[in-house]
């Protein structure tokens, strides 16, 4: 049994929220540079240059990469041999979010009720996903997610007979509808299998995979490559203004499903594909 104080968790969440919002992921920055090389559209190249310049300015001045600093999505993996001390885990995560968003000058975008729309003023509550795993480590990932791209995400309950082609059409339709609204170039997370809520979470988790890292399953890795090419062939381009670079990456996570179903979730993200992790 290992003891971990929830204060450590609060401080870790605060630091991760600030880092995720002000430092562009190294793999994303590399991908933007490669994309700049292959983009054929002059307007597209100009936009990719702006995104690269933006990354430098954000890092140098601790200014958020994007003003939509998002809902704070937090993944907590708790080793079953960990004993948490000093308070509630959930409170600690939320205190960390409040601290990070306040001290880090991030935007507070959370309303307490979907209809009365009153701002909670500290960007809490976070959306927290817990997982209990073997061992005595605690791993926290903070993945702030903007609403522009979240609004363009979709869940499809396909029929098993629709198979791989159905998945392909679901992804392409989602990206087409997203158009310029999700600030392409995109990063796309796809969930396949499970049930209604599991599938959505798979898509979200696919966004946590390091950009460009293929699925360990060769068949799914092949589908990832094929879908990424198909997405880029849509011609939507940077910011939807036309071009060869519509997405920087696409990852698929899968799970066993029911004999009667083929759920597919497409979680759209922009190049501000934020996720920072620490193990305590």
């Amino acid at each position: 049994m290992r003891e971990i104080s929830v204060d450590l968790i609060r401080d870790a969440v605060a630091a991760l929220a600030v880092k995720a919002n002000t430092v562009v992921d190294a793999r994303v920055e590399e991908a933007l540079k490669t994309a700049r090389q292959r983009e054929e559209s002059p307007v597209g190249r100009e936009i990719l240059d702006q995104l690269l310049q933006n990354a430098e300015i954000a890092r140098a001045t601790a200014t958020p990469i994007c003003q939509d600093t998002g809902l704070a999505v937090v993944f907590v993996r708790v080793g079953q041999d960990v004993h948490l001390t000093g308070g509630s885990l959930e409170d600690a995560v939320n205190q960390g979010v409040a601290k990070g968003y306040t001290d880090g000058y991030l935007r507070k975008s959370v309303v307490r009720d979907p209809l009365d729309r009153i701002n909670t003023k500290d960007n809490t509550p976070a959306i927290i996903h817990y997982e209990i795993v073997p061992g005595d480590e605690l791993t926290i990932t903070v993945a702030p997610k903007g609403i522009g791209s979240e609004n363009m995400s979709r869940l499809y309950m396909l029929k098993p007979s629709q198979g791989a082609e159905g998945i392909r059409q679901a992804v392409l339709q989602t990206v087409r509808e997203a158009g310029s609204n999700a600030c392409p170039p995109l990063v796309i997370g796809v969930g396949v299998g499970g049930n209604f809520e599991k599938c959505a979470l798979l898509a979200k988790r696919a966004l946590l995979r390091p950009l460009g890292e293929p699925s360990p399953d060769p068949a799914w890795a092949a589908m990832e490559r094929d879908l990424l090419n198909a997405v880029n062939d849509l011609g939507i381009g940077p910011q939807g203004l036309g071009g060869r670079v519509t997405a920087l990456g696409l990852a698929i996570e899968t799970y066993p499903t029911h004999i009667g179903g083929l759920p597919v979730a497409v979680n759209i993200n922009c190049h501000v594909a934020r996720h920072e992790t620490v193990s305590l």
Binding site: E40, S41, V43, E46, I47, Q50, L51, Q53, N54, I57, A58, T61, A62, T63, P64, I65, C66, Q67, D68, T69, Y105, L106, R107, K108, N119, G148, N151, G179, S180, N181, C183, D233, L234, G235, I236, G237, Q239, G240, L241, G242, G243, R244, C270, H271, V272
Partner: protein, 181 residues
């Protein structure tokens, strides 16, 4: 690349064509949905507006709070579609330019043609870069709306692309065709 000055006179608006990249210098105003709603209510009631709409340029943005010493925090565009219900009313009062991101409704494009207005896109996800082009920022109305309050901004060499011009040409419609395979 074209250098243009805000507010926009009608001649400037007519000289801009879908696909042009521009750098804007001058005074622009920020407003999002909540502020648009109040401006439209003020127009209907005949009460004073927070700024003169004649030739005005509105930037759809909800910035992050500035760090001490900064003029404004990250300040990239938000989705313009949420302002579609209000934009024609503002254009009828003289609004000449809108800066945001994403598609507009046909009713907005018709109003742009009728009132000689232009729609430009700033780069979504370039909030830190765009923040650096904003040299002055002052909340001038609806302070209670927080990030959605109306601000007067002075911008220098603010980069944008003309997406829909006053002739109804729409780059979002025409450009992807060229790069589709």
């Amino acid at each position: 690349m074209k250098n243009i000055t805000a507010p926009f006179d009608k001649e400037t608006v007519r000289s801009l064509h879908a696909g042009d990249t521009v750098r804007i210098t001058g005074t622009i105003y920020t407003a999002r949905d909540a502020a648009h709603k109040r401006i439209c209510e003020a127009i209907a009631a005949g009460t004073p507006l927070p700024f003169d709409l004649a030739g005005a340029v509105i930037y759809y943005v909800g910035p992050t709070p500035p760090r001490p010493g900064q003029v404004i925090g990250a300040a990239g565009p938000t989705t313009s579609g949420r302002m579609d219900a209000y934009a024609p009313t503002l254009m009828a009062e003289g609004l000449s330019g809108m800066i945001g991101k994403g598609e507009r409704l046909p009713s907005v494009i018709e109003a742009m043609k009728a009132h000689t207005a232009v729609y430009l896109a700033a780069t979504g996800g370039a909030g830190a870069l765009l923040s650096h082009c904003i040299k002055q920022s002052e909340v001038i109305a609806y302070e209670d709306l927080g990030t959605e309050a109306v601000r007067r901004l002075y911008v220098e060499d603010f980069p944008a692309t003309v997406v829909i011009d006053c002739y109804g040409e729409n780059l979002y419609r025409t450009a992807p065709e060229k790069y589709r395979r």
